[in-house]
Symmetry: D2
């Protein structure tokens, strides 16, 4: 049930769900120390305040690139130290909690695992926040009920993430459902953010959908950014280039200002740059 | 194929698809002279520049209210004279062209008739523009191809209108697909507008989705407005009240300004009011 | 509402919805006198009792083959005379009633026109039966309500036809929804048949789905058959060859016998052949 | 890729995917020793050869009945001893393998976990067969690729189970997609069965869909049966009563005979009863 006051969730030092709009960004997969550091510095410079990056990747085919695993995790640790950015990555197995917990500021549950209640229950026993992506065919009602598997375990720090749903349409990867942001925010006090990268799947349309998400009332965004999208080991087709990311952030700031909503400043003194 | 320059479509004296953002508004069904006039004056005052209103209504059940028909048309004629607003209404049968043509500035093809190629061919032989709503389960590709039935007949004045698609989700009437606005604008030179009223179906969420549509790059909106939504003879659940419409238009103007896109001014000197 | 007794609908001399299972078959488009006659004789020999064939074709693109029109109609007239088979074809415009009525034994409303209520009302004023295909995204409830536009006009002879729905699945043209046959038969007294050709879209899978439709309780089938599917001007990918049609009919007879349901015999003495 | 010869999978002493059609049946949830034993004896008497029953239930809401857990497992053990029926139940967490392996003859992966690759990889390291249900919004292609997570681990004993997909239709719980049976059997050598209980969700329509599944070419069925469906603790609306199950099996036998496919005989001397 909707509570009188909006609940905020702290991801490291960053507050999500408060007056400030939060941008999380980074590569789909962590591919190298250099790639992650370069991306982290760029997104921080342009106003993002949380770093994302895939360690173990869930892929439809067992034969495609599955992420660098623990190697990626060590890269993440160094970049966190260098930039001070809180880090979020996907957890795909309840037995990964132990190895991820020391590094991440937030666990992400991907769309394929929204119904993985064993995993959700495990995360309900943790203290760190959970970014709960909507299953790509989940009803808003099921998505909200899935969050209860975390909440009932005692972990009240859930952030919802709309990431597009599966429909009959084939011209885009998924169908971004911004109605769900409005519906969910009317039903719950928890923050709701949007992932336009997966929802569209085509980088040329991501900036427009990022703006639309902010206008629809989302509390933030999670965006895929890559130093050279054409060479990305996974999901390169939807990753923003550095230039495109910077332009999107500039437009976003103007739009949010018109909506009376400021950005969360990054941990660097990036305010003057934007 | 996408042409180098955006094509504009003139609806009466109003240019759609140019630099200015256009709002069309009015009741789902025309219910009385008074209801239509009152609504027309209100929307005009707050910056809308085209009047909509249903004459013959397509309803799922043959036993529900089907519109006032020719009576509604005579009301529309008087309101057009009094306000100077161009008028758009739905055509549901090729044999209605004769009676509608003298009154409307644009024919609207509803979602149920997007595949009614006999109707589209008839409209291809007219001079007045056609507002082509997306079928609620139409691929963007089919929607674009449907427009060719009009264009090949010699009528080049087609405006596309995204109005939500049918998906598995049940918390809203349809799923607003803003991806389609981005995709279609990349493929065609014709204007694309959005109908958030049908796409969400719940008036409390329409303002957010109107803003999101503008941020996504649409060329305009078509909104349902009613003097007393709770007493509307059709679709009252999704109609904006006068107050809500005025507030939405004010927010929209701020947002569009941040996006460097002005409104089309209404035919009254409404600029100072908004 | 479901009536105590099942209603039968007579298509020419063939009774649909009674104890006997009825097969309608023929080419997607009528392409020549020879093609239609040859197909009609073949399907009749193997137990089909109603001939189908497209005169005007509804096609997604205005630039593809749209059917032979009145030429096809004259071919149909001759084949009807030679074989005695009742003929069903699609009507796509209310203004076609006049020219089709003297030739057809039943009007077919295609999936794209299930919501074309102007057309349905026109057919409600006719005496000949109407084969009402399900819109490819129509709820069973909407499909049933669409039939009321015909029934309320005074024409009680409606046969429903399930032809597959649009879903996220892409390995087949549509998703055959046999649940709908069970649901609709529990709600209405009117006959329900299935079109597995459009529902699957791949001829190699049509025979299995034809058998499944019969097992699900359908009152009949409508099948696309072509003398040389690889050369068909439309929908060749889903048409059964003569050999495949004959084999399917033989299997169907065995299956229906096990379900205590006989075929309608064709107008020729084909009983001994099957 | 499709192999020349169909692969059979042995579930205890029962061969699935061979000439004989296999029926698995039992309650959604194991509720008591008595309920399970009574059901097991009934299904065995009427020709089913594998027992199903839920131990831990995945439920949309964390607040509803979640299964009896280890208590249910001890009931299952006793019933297996008394009847000799192989037992299949759902696994929802990779850490359950240890406790389930001594009891089950086959692990079932439910629709919600088809994308739970951590679980699939764990099962790939087991010897016992895996019943892989289709995710309710999974493409046939993704379903087949999910099986590779098991196969690549060295466990070649996978049986696919179609259980209905999520579509826009609301008159039934899901949409049974029998096209998928035909498509999958053309692509893989592994057995494919159907769960009409979940696919329709309404017990009155399950018998028709069970017959349709057999006619479509499935290698078997999994059916929910309960001594008193109105009192079932989960999914009672879709469970067959004992009477309805017996009637369905009798009809199925006649239909399969017409298709030249026999039943697997139960482990009791049930042949004379059916």
């Amino acid at each position: 049930m909707k509570q009188a006051t909006q609940k905020t969730v702290s991801v490291g030092s960053v507050v999500v769900g408060g007056p400030k709009f939060v941008v999380m960004a980074g590569p789909c997969s962590i591919e190298s120390q250099e790639q992650l550091l370069q991306t982290a510095k760029h997104i921080q410079l342009h106003g993002a305040s949380i770093l994302r990056g895939g360690v173990w990747k869930l892929r439809t085919s067992a034969s495609t690139f599955q992420g660098l695993g623990s190697e990626a995790l060590s890269y993440a640790q160094k970049v966190i130290q260098q930039t001070g950015l809180p880090f979020v990555t996907e957890i795909t197995d309840p037995r990964q909690v132990e190895v991820l917990a020391p590094v991440v500021s937030m666990f992400m549950v991907g769309a394929r695992n929204m119904y993985n209640y064993a995993l959700l229950k495990e995360l309900g026993m943790q203290k760190k926040p959970v970014l709960l992506k909507r299953g790509f065919s989940a009803l808003v009602d099921e998505w909200q009920k899935a969050s209860e598997y975390v909440l009932q375990g005692g972990n009240e720090n859930v952030i919802f993430c709309e990431r597009g749903i599966r429909t009959f349409e084939t011209s885009t990867r998924n169908t971004l459902d911004l109605n769900s942001v409005a519906v969910l925010k009317s039903r719950t006090h928890l923050p709701v953010i949007v992932d336009p990268s997966h929802a569209v799947g085509l980088s040329e349309f991501v900036p427009q959908m990022a703006l639309a998400s902010a206008a629809a009332g989302a509390d933030g965004l999670i965006l895929e950014v890559h130093p050279d999208p054409s060479k990305a080991l996974s999901d390169g087709r939807q990753a923003l280039s550095f230039t495109s990311f910077a332009e999107t952030m500039a437009k976003l700031e103007r739009l949010l200002t018109a909506l009376d909503r400021p950005f969360v400043a990054g941990s660097s003194a990036s305010g003057s740059v934007r």
